[in-house]
């Protein structure tokens, strides 16, 4: 086998490998978007519960919150500091990769959270949870389709590059 053929085979193998990696990354990214929404819903539910039962100040809720949930909310936000309240969380998320997912819902919620009394806060939390849950369901429905489309596109691109290389 000539050196040229060996090089082509190695090149095709590398292209195939990197294609697989890209596919995997795309799939993980879709899952991460869903996981982040799960964490956001969890944190808003925690805020609702703590306000409803104990009237806990926001700072204390964030201090006592499970760090994994906070980290989950900041998925895709590189080097984001640990947020101390909803506004900080929203600001950190704005700079992240998935700012579009629930960004407007969270922005409005973060802006008004803590500025009114218990009943109003609980209503705001309920609205936010409902909207985030609807978004999550939509993303969950879209996820298999997105993964299939991404897979098909990626595979076709990979195959055509391999064919061209060979």
């Amino acid at each position: 086998m000539s050196l040229q053929v060996i090089c082509r085979l190695i090149g095709a193998g590398l292209m195939f490998g990197s294609g697989l990696a890209v596919l995997r990354l795309m799939s993980e990214r879709e899952r991460a978007r869903l996981y982040r929404l799960d964490c956001l819903i969890a944190i808003v539910e925690l805020i609702r519960s703590d306000i409803s039962r104990y009237l806990t100040p926001i700072g204390d809720i964030f201090r006592r919150c499970d760090p994994e949930i906070l980290a989950g909310c900041l998925t895709g936000c590189r080097d984001a500091p640990c947020p101390r309240d909803m506004r900080e969380l929203y600001r950190a998320m704005e700079k992240g990769d998935y700012a579009a997912d629930g960004g407007s819902i969270l922005g409005e919620f973060a802006r008004t959270l803590g500025s009114s009394y218990r009943d109003e806060e609980i209503r705001e939390c309920d609205v936010c949870i409902t909207e985030l849950t609807a978004l999550r369901e939509r993303l969950a429905c879209e996820l298999p389709v997105r993964r299939r489309s991404a897979g098909a596109l990626g595979f076709c691109a990979m195959a055509s590059v391999v064919i061209l290389t060979l």
Partner: protein, 313 residues
């Protein structure tokens, strides 16, 4: 003999942000007017209150009651934003005290809150459209209260002392000083401080104090707990005035625990005209009634002492 030297255990816990305004307050002020207020405060000897009025000029109450306007006007949004910041972004957590017309910050700053009250069944359910925030700045207690301690000793701690004065003279500051004096030193007593509004406790965080702090309790409940379950030797309580509180003080007196309390009044006669006070006088819960006045330039107050036996019937 006094219980310990003055100053033991009194701590200055305030971070000061410009002039004499605590950092917790300075940080909450709108950036647009913050500098104006801090500069005006820095020019005064002692700032007692910062009054923020929606749509009107900010005023500083300084140097013994002078109201000094600051050329800064807050909008409604700014006033409400200040309240939200003072509440650490959690107004709902302070709803109960906002309904009572105040909030207390961690460093003893008390903020009077008024706006448009919405009532439910004759009770204030919430306050909206905040129009005024009256931020009262606490001060480290000066060397004062020796006279009150001597009065307590004169009755061998069997009767309490009622301190009265018009608002803003320094009753709360005097109580802080007394709490520190009585609960420190080689002859420290077990002092219980019933701090319903959370403003007495600041400057009293030293570990050397033999002091029980009943924070947030309704006064009558706190007094009862201090007398019956904490075996306190002296109870300190600010601003009494309801029959239920008077009843609790009588209960503490019957347990043999003297109480140092304060009330708004201009004279003994006016004081004893209040609900429940005449009964307290008859029961002998207080051995002396002490009116206080400020003395310009001096750290201690001017005391107008009237022993129980001297009160005209």
């Amino acid at each position: 003999m006094f219980n310990g030297q003055y100053g033991i255990g009194i701590e200055n816990s305030l971070g000061v942000g410009g002039g004499q305004i605590p950092a917790s307050v300075a940080d909450a002020l709108p950036p647009r007017v913050r500098d104006d207020i801090l500069k005006a405060a820095a020019r005064c000897h002692s700032v007692e209150e910062v009054r923020l009025h929606c749509g009107r000029r900010v005023t500083l109450t300084v140097d013994g009651g002078i109201n000094r306007p600051v050329p800064a006007v807050l909008t409604r949004e700014e006033t409400e934003d200040v309240l939200t910041r003072l509440c650490e972004g959690s107004v709902y957590a302070y709803r109960d005290t906002i309904r009572e017309g105040y909030i207390t910050l961690g460093d003893g700053v008390r903020v009077g809150v008024c706006g448009r009250a919405v009532c439910e069944n004759g009770r204030v359910g919430g306050v909206y459209d905040i129009s005024t925030l009256s931020i009262r700045i606490p001060h480290p207690p000066p060397a004062c209260g020796g006279r009150i301690c001597r009065l307590l000793e004169a009755t061998e701690y069997t009767r309490g002392v009622m301190i009265y004065s018009p608002p803003g003279v320094g009753k709360t500051t005097l109580l802080r000083s007394l709490a520190a004096r009585l609960s420190s030193g080689p002859h420290a007593r077990r002092v219980a401080v019933v701090d319903t509004r959370g403003e007495l406790a600041c400057f009293l965080s030293s570990p050397t104090l033999c002091l029980d702090l009943l924070s947030g309790y309704p006064k009558e409940v706190g007094i009862s707990i201090a007398a019956r379950t904490l075996s306190s030797q002296v109870i300190i309580c600010d601003e009494i005035g309801t029959p239920a509180e008077a009843e609790a003080i009588r209960g503490a007196h019957n347990c043999g625990v003297p109480l140092i309390a304060t009330a708004h009044a201009g004279s003994v006669r006016e004081l004893l005209g209040r609900a429940g006070m005449a009964e307290l006088h008859v029961s002998g819960s207080f051995g002396a009634y002490v009116g206080i006045r400020r003395r310009p330039g001096l750290s201690d107050f001017e005391y107008d002492v009237c022993m129980r036996e001297e009160v005209p019937s």
